[in-house]
Amino acid sequence: MIASYLGYLFYGNLLILTLTFMYLFHIRKLIGFQLGMNISTMAGGFTAIVTGVILIYQFPLKFVIVTIVTTLIGMIVGGLFGSLFDYQTLLTGYGNGLMMGIMSPMIGAAAKNNYVFLTFLEGIFIVSLFLLVLSSKRT
């Protein structure tokens, strides 16, 4: 019943992420590389974790493909957020998204379709994006 809404959750996460990316794209000249490194690490890592857990809840029979897709998504998101600033922030976001994306389907499979856990992860994701926008506004 709840499982049919997981796709919308994934789509909503992608939408929030795109809005944050567009906001950061406008003010990317104001952000130094130190904050840029932390931004790319946080965005890539948390996106990979939430995406991996959602995908393994939705497709519990396809562990291998879900792991590969999640790793690619984490790499791409970390690389995109890092490429706003510098080549070295791109490398940081890429590496962190890769590591988190490999780990996250195992966490989701061990959680056994627990929706409290998914709500907690979603809360962490939204709070981290909020903190990210706040910290980029304050500099």
């Binding site: 291998v64 590969i68 490398l91 590496g95 890769l98 780990m103 061990a110």
Partner: protein
């Protein structure tokens, strides 16, 4: 038997790639600043220790915890070796990411070999060999992509 040969070949390929990139960085260690050195140590030691510990879990499937201790120490040593090219802060970053990478690699190796740990469905017990093939190829591909990106970033 051919499975073990394949995994051993991938392990030696990973070690060879790590050794070659270390030689390249050792030759150019005076050219780059400490920030680039830190990021280089993070990415290289993380991905190399991840793939090598995953492959060694696949190769030797007994002695689980002994192998885990050995690969975590190996990942820390790889991180220290890559980080000691530049400065102490890059040594710390390389050490941390080497240990995190080898712990992740151990975790994924153990889960693929014994799917009941993560309560994966029973159909995985008939696909363990295929999963090992896919995961080892994917890990080695990730090593190649990461090392080539790091190598390309020397010129940017």
């Amino acid at each position: 038997m051919s499975m073990t040969m394949y995994l051993l070949c991938l392990f030696f390929l990973t070690s060879l790639i790590g050794f070659l990139i270390y030689k390249v960085f050792y030759k150019k260690r005076l050219l780059y600043n400490d920030r680039f050195g830190m990021i280089m140590a993070m990415s290289c030691s993380g991905i190399i220790s991840l793939n090598s510990s995953m492959l060694s879990q696949f190769i030797i499937s007994d002695h689980l915890f002994f192998l885990m201790i050995l690969t975590v120490v190996l990942g820390g040593v790889v991180g220290i070796v890559f980080g000691s090219l530049v400065k102490y802060q890059s040594l710390l970053a390389g050490f941390l990411h080497g240990i995190v990478g080898s712990l992740t690699g151990n975790m994924i190796g153990i889960v693929v070999e014994d799917p009941s740990i993560c309560s994966l469905p029973a159909s995985y017990f008939s696909m363990i060999d295929q999963n090992i093939l896919i995961f080892s190829a994917f890990g080695t591909l990730l090593v190649m992509i990461t090392i080539s990106i790091v190598y390309y970033s020397l010129r940017v």
